[in-house]
Symmetry: D3
Subunit: 301 residues, 6 copies
């Protein structure tokens, strides 16, 4: 069960309204790397995890991320607080209101559609979607996804800090950024507390293909490093050896019943292209009187 304390987890003193800056902050509110994505990622994992320790960890951090969502949302609300009233009350001339809401970022949408409210959109106005959440119900994978997600959120906060000179906002963003680092550390611990977490799952890989490195991109810029050289890797450069690596024909086939075969053939015959014809086409018809045919013209059949 969730409870709410009216105090924010971190105090938010904003120096002055700035609707365009508000739209940048939305990235961490309704954006893919933002706090709702974080909270829901951990909360939904926590609901189904069988391990009591991870379950506790996931719910702790999920709850903290909801508290972060409230902080960043409060920053957005404060940055919009001036413009919100002006538009609702028509407190300025039309041209002035128009100018202020087209001053940058996605402030026009935040004003017209959301009235200066804190919408769950990113900085481009795209509504938040659960497609951002990549949990798949396997702890060794989900913890890796969480580690990656925390690292990304850290960087987006760093970028926001870099473009803001409002000391109060900078301070709150620094808190939020720091917490992502701390969360990453916790998720790292939880991952490696699973003694055998790599490769994830039960099925072993096929030994013929587990240590191959296929050099698929060749030319100037081909490079080496521990990711593709050394005794642990067998590099395959030969283009032909990269195809049909199972030693088969490299084709796709399916055994069809006689009835299916007949039907597929009928379909194929009906829609067959005639490679011997050089038909007049729509492009020929459309090339225009002065343009010349795109193909030598024949009488239509």
């Amino acid at each position: 069960m969730f409870m709410h304390n009216k105090k924010l987890m971190y105090t938010v003193p904003v120096a002055e309204p700035n609707p365009a800056l508000a739209t940048l902050m939305l990235e961490q509110f309704g954006g893919p790397q933002g706090e709702l994505a974080a909270a829901m990622r951990y909360f939904t994992q926590g609901l189904a995890d069988e391990d009591v320790g991870r379950r506790d960890l996931l719910m702790d951090i999920a709850t903290e991320e909801l508290s972060h969502l409230e902080i960043i949302g409060s920053i957005v609300a404060m940055l919009n607080r001036g413009g919100k009233g002006k538009l609702a009350e028509a407190a300025e001339e039309e041209a002035d209101l128009y100018a202020s809401m087209t001053s940058g970022g996605e402030s026009h949408t935040m004003s017209i559609l959301y009235g200066g409210g804190t919408a769950l959109i990113n900085s481009a106005g795209v509504p938040w979607t659960a497609a951002y959440i990549d949990s798949i119900g396997d702890p060794a994978c989900d913890l890796r996804s969480n580690i990656a997600a925390e690292s990304r959120a850290k960087i987006v906060y760093e970028r926001l800090i870099n473009v803001t000179d409002d000391a109060g906002i900078k301070d709150a963003l620094t808190f939020l950024m720091t917490r992502e680092v701390a969360h990453q550390k916790s998720f790292e611990k939880a991952l490696y507390a699973i003694p055998a977490n790599f490769p994830p799952g039960k099925l072993p890989g096929h030994p013929d293909f587990a240590d191959k490195y296929y050099n698929m991109s060749q030319g100037e810029g081909d490079a080496s490093g521990s990711w593709n050289e050394g005794e642990q890797w067998e590099v395959v450069d030969d283009r032909e050896a990269q195809a049909a690596v199972d030693g088969g024909a490299g084709d796709a086939s399916v055994k069809l019943s006689a009835a299916d075969k007949k039907t597929v053939q009928a379909f194929a015959a009906r829609t067959q292209s005639d490679p011997s014809a050089n038909p007049i086409t729509g492009a020929d018809l459309g090339a225009g009187p002065g343009a010349g045919r795109t193909t030598p013209m024949e009488a239509p059949a």
Copy 2:
């Protein structure tokens, strides 16, 4: 520049058509953990990476993933090859066609909308979206995202292997699964080849908050582990100490100009709720003649 060899990277011999199974396979074609997501994830990172080694690695694996996309797509095409012709040619009675395309999974959509073609949808029929890609342009983050993505893809292949008894499909899926393991190993190497990759970015965290663990979820089930105990962590259990951790008031504020303040007040006044009234509401009106008011009725003002 990309080139194409008509041989598949792995041979695909399918035993018999099965449209419902085909829809499961779509997860790795047009699903969030599938091969298009993988290929585009690495390709788009590779285009902008400043490091020659990583750039090569990303393009190698991106290209291989495109080749995997072709393999899994070919499996789907083979599994659908029987049904495709039957529907196009109306080779069976209506009731039989109807029955076969509602036999499970999302086969009804694959048949009616896509005609048995290989659509970029997942097993629920949801079109692929670039919202699945979480690259943010920082190598230390993107490599972590890639590591996590490879681990997830490994598991989804494992699940597909577990539900298929077609030996040819199982074989091809095992190849694909194995390669995800190999790719994860490469991305791990590339991550740790960046000497200082944690925390990502340049800005350090704030020391007051980097080692705190806020125990936000409390009750039976509270647990400990290296993620929240030991000398590296300072655990905060006290509910009050979890609020306004900066020592401030825990509120949000913004300095408004006099004009803004006046406008906000006008907006607030106009939309103010009167807590002293106990108004008749729409729910009262709608509770119906025999239902009793939901509030004691007063004469409308």
Copy 3:
């Protein structure tokens, strides 16, 4: 700030696993009328509301909805708990696993993609989107939206109750359904506590059009009721009187500068259709040798 108590707000004893039923329950977890939509709707409104009473109300109910989200998510997790392990451990033959995960609803996607986890999708597998949230930052509108949303959630719970004979689930769903009714009552009170809430906003309507009822759909089935008859309405049946109701020409126009006019004319001329021609078309070319032209054939120009 949010806090979490490990106890659920309501106990969830599920009689037995049922993955197909789990997918129906997802409607109230990750569906448009579900608990995440409710929680986020009120939370985001609460962040920006200027009225202390509404702000408190919105945060109270937002927090409760998060607690509901946890209840319905726990139902889903329990219904999936059997299948989850079987697939991960490959505890059954392929055919049995395949059969169980294609037994109805969207259980195939929940198994293959989410591993039996509680994903933020609806019963059709569509990821949750903030496009479901219709808040616009005006209290008189947002409260009406909330009232409507609570009424919808009530009905979806009623439908789920009607299709479930698991007593424990039925009981928990009844709690959730009842709370939606209570919330609707609160939002109704809050709406009517704004003394002048209709029409919302500041601008009055234009008196010429505020009481008109345009009978746009005519024929057998035309009906009357208080919504379109009586002294409060002026009904306009005459088709001509429904067009250009301002008394103008009923056209759209814009004053273009001379330069713009010239450019638009150039564009129009270049893409002008020649109504006097009867061109051979692609359809003619494609109608096939035995099919006869769709238009009388002329020599191509």
Copy 4:
């Protein structure tokens, strides 16, 4: 059956082209509160409603909303009419074209992607989605949704009016805004013409929970009003009394078969976290040579 009269329902005289303003107007064309959403909301409801009066009402207003869609679309078309030709004909220097299409709002997308056409997007360029429509097939709910939707549309028009000083546009927008008020009145009548519309549906709420108000958000700012005080409400402030309100254990459980239990245990064991270990993690490895370990280093097992 629908018919079309080439006259607009309201005359649209636009003073001069303005592509940036056009993008704001798109909110009511292809935005969530816009006319397509309105038309489709009522039309789809009308198709399935069993009540002859509501059916007529829904079709009347759906048809009128389509006519409004045409008006707002015509405004957009006129505002774009200058820029459209210039880009297609390359009538200006590149730098001038570039400047004019990046002058604000989403005009760059309207120009490059849609060529100045009237696209079904909102002011941020997000394509219209039926996820905006919240109809659920219950009249008492759908009418409430319609009432809320009309109130929202009214406000968005008011905002557009406030930022436009083009008299012709302002006039047309005022007509459209006024009609939303009239429509709301009709839908209100239709709702309350259902004698017992609250609560919607057949199932009664559970008496233990219908009048409770859970004070989930506590602290400075706790407030009272008719929505949570008075004889109609029983307020629950005690945090413990808010959990497990059924008097149960507040946990989630499911009865598993012996086989399921065994499988779940196997899965749990395989992915168990070892809380006693303090593992070296990826963060440790990545903290860099000069950074100091994030945990005291031990020899890897």
Copy 5:
């Protein structure tokens, strides 16, 4: 302005309810090839077209498609009419209701979420999106898009006819299918009535590249036809000749200011990978006690 006649454009007599069949029909209601997509495609084009003839054509067909939308929607409504009441009234045992709504297709979502209403979703439950509409504001392109769209709609209707043995539905679908053919003919005429419609636009192609055919996919299955052979094409088979076809270096470059260069170098240096190291990785740590290192273990630096 639109008007509505309560008569359908075509009579719809449905033999009996069938919720699973209803979900298939949704493809032409709220699916990508369906009638809403058609109507909106032509309507939005019509609003901005400068040519009086095309504008008339587009509005004629847009209006007819809206009338088709009503027909297919009415079919859906009739097919759902039985189930709708049963669920709302709880007229059957839970198990029976559950069974009937999980009988195939997406009927579970139509029942639980939409109550048997006619939702703007496709047969997989995916909400309609304006991303389906590909109009770009150039008549020579948009007419081609319309031609293609009509041909697709024809085929989807054909598929639906092939799976339905309800004579009334079959009859109505045949009408709808036929009209798509007629519309395609009209759009073909309109395209070729633009004398020079190929290539669209004003800019000519570059002569060096207009007649080249790059044989990018090579191997068994390489084929020829009028699309890549004959005097009109110059085929490029040589892999090297396919790269950097401008004769340049085939690389991408940008001139950076000195300051930019310095910053890019700083960023590159900070995130540089060290190809000489063979680091221990997270995969090594996670390979488990019994698994053996994936790389030979060294002491962490």
Copy 6:
């Protein structure tokens, strides 16, 4: 199988960074008419096509489009190369960084969210979706879709060329634009190489409706052309003759079982509107003390 050559297909020398211009270029990278859409369109068609010639053609062009995707992506990467480093390294004052990333287009989102990387979004920041792909598994339709798609891509490139004065970019865009023209020619050839491609599919249209032209939009602006006049068309102007064109009642009906009928009636009765009542409504309650009732007030029952 795909392979990659590190050389681009066309050299990309960019004169100087310009993040706002970069966002325009994204239309052809991650936009609906862009290269990913093209590549995936042809690739997915090619996987399932039964015709060896078309299959080869589709794979040739799919592979070339991937190579184009790399070119346009490289342009984007170069245009962003300056800004990327500045933000990551915090190389400028906050205000300067803020100014540069809100200088136009969607550069704010590209910077904050994607760090100057090449994201698969369009110029408005909307993530690429497979909903852009309209393939349906019928060659006569899919080729038409491809023809239309190539024509659209040509125009979007033309627009981009028109707004860019960077010679290197202009040159590369001209190459890309030209190739779309060449591809259209190939697809035209392939379409007309199917001898009978119109109408697509097997089912003939109904002769009563194949040549009718319903004049649905009437008034000033009614026009004629070969699309609706001449011996090939029978024009229906009469409004009544446009309804129920089958000669039936123009209604929708379904035969319900007795049980269904009873249930539908129960549902209808429970939610019936009472047309004789003139109820007080929520709008009346909300009209405010000084506003006057919207309906004459009666005492609530």
